[in-house]
Symmetry: C2
Subunit: 215 residues, 2 copies
Amino acid sequence: MRKEAIERRNEILDAADELFGQKGFDGTSTNDILEKVGIARGTLYYHFKSKEDIMDALIDRYNTQILGAANGIAADKSIAVHERIVRVVMALNISGGNGKEIIDHIHKPQNALMHQKIQKVIINGLPPILTEIIREGIEQGLFSTPYPYECMEMIVAYTNTVFDDDMVDLTDEERAARIPAFIFNVERLLGVESGSLMYMMKMFGSGGEENRNNS
Amino acid sequence: MRKEAIERRNEILDAADELFGQKGFDGTSTNDILEKVGIARGTLYYHFKSKEDIMDALIDRYNTQILGAANGIAADKSIAVHERIVRVVMALNISGGNGKEIIDHIHKPQNALMHQKIQKVIINGLPPILTEIIREGIEQGLFSTPYPYECMEMIVAYTNTVFDDDMVDLTDEERAARIPAFIFNVERLLGVESGSLMYMMKMFGSGGEENRNNS
DNA sequence: TTTTATCGACAGACAGTCGGTCTATTAAGG
DNA sequence: CCTTAATAGACCGACTGTCTGTCGATAAAA
């Protein structure tokens, strides 16, 4: 029954990940985690100093997964700027095959704290990545703004809040109506002609459930 | 010691308001509230069905205070559009003399859930109010956008996230640098000439602590 | 032998419940 | 008009079950 610390740690994180996703952070007791992993209380507190510590470790994992994939794509200068933006954004949905589940976890109303912490990761981590691409685009004459970072920050903040979040309760039609408006606004922010970023529609999936995440 | 239900309810809410502000929602026990009000457990659960129910009632209060003031100003067509926008926004800081304290409460990291719930009130409640003013401005030829609502939504989402929140940790200089960039972006969104909205700087207070809230 | 991982009993705190009490008001009876 | 009984709303506090985090003991590995 004895294992390497790192292995145990990951077992615990895996269990917590699933349980938090099902029942939320507050709704999950440490006993639930103990049972699922098959260890005793003391063991859990040997590996983690508190329940919140487990959540923080989980967020670190997400952080690495989500931003790692985005960073990889952003650095690949062989891809054209427009295409790269789309791919970076879309990578957030599917990085490691579970980005989407992560996002779904977070949206349980019970998980306000975890949600907040992940939002923080994204709002701080994503704009720098996107800004670099935008700067390239500016050099190539594709975009025109004196404030690329703040533009990206605004866009990410918006999509996080309105599209990724349950902050605004949108029907499918309302959501669909927001998309061209959003693209129009992005065009203005980036100083390009109206209609020239319409190709970005594809970031929002084909409808249904895919479009939950796009920041 | 016997009181009208509504009076007791408000006593409890007042106490909870202060305690949540000091120690956060999770950090405040129902016993703390009991002590502060000077009532017994049963009494509290006679008036509220759960601890979270107390928070929800508190948020209703905030909601009324915050949006009520904003609505009042927005409806006053005797004030010029530009000025009215500034006043609506600034009213959020000081409505009822305690808007600022409300905002400060919410920013305690312990209060993630309350924070989220108030953000929801703002992101859903404020854009409609502002949109009406913008529409007036469009009729007067002051602004030009086919999507006034989505513009406001974007602006509110951004200020909520970046300026009002601790999502992005800004030094004073970083904060100061964000302001002209923000105004520039708003100008683009509203389709006005660069520099013409600079008067909005005043919404961000004189620096220091005043500028915590501006959405 | 020392370090690393594990165990499970336990303490302390807390949210919510429940049966019962107290009191003001109203209704009935004298 | 006064007294007494009934009713309902406000209140009480002991109690229950649950949960988190601690600690000393123990076993396995190094």
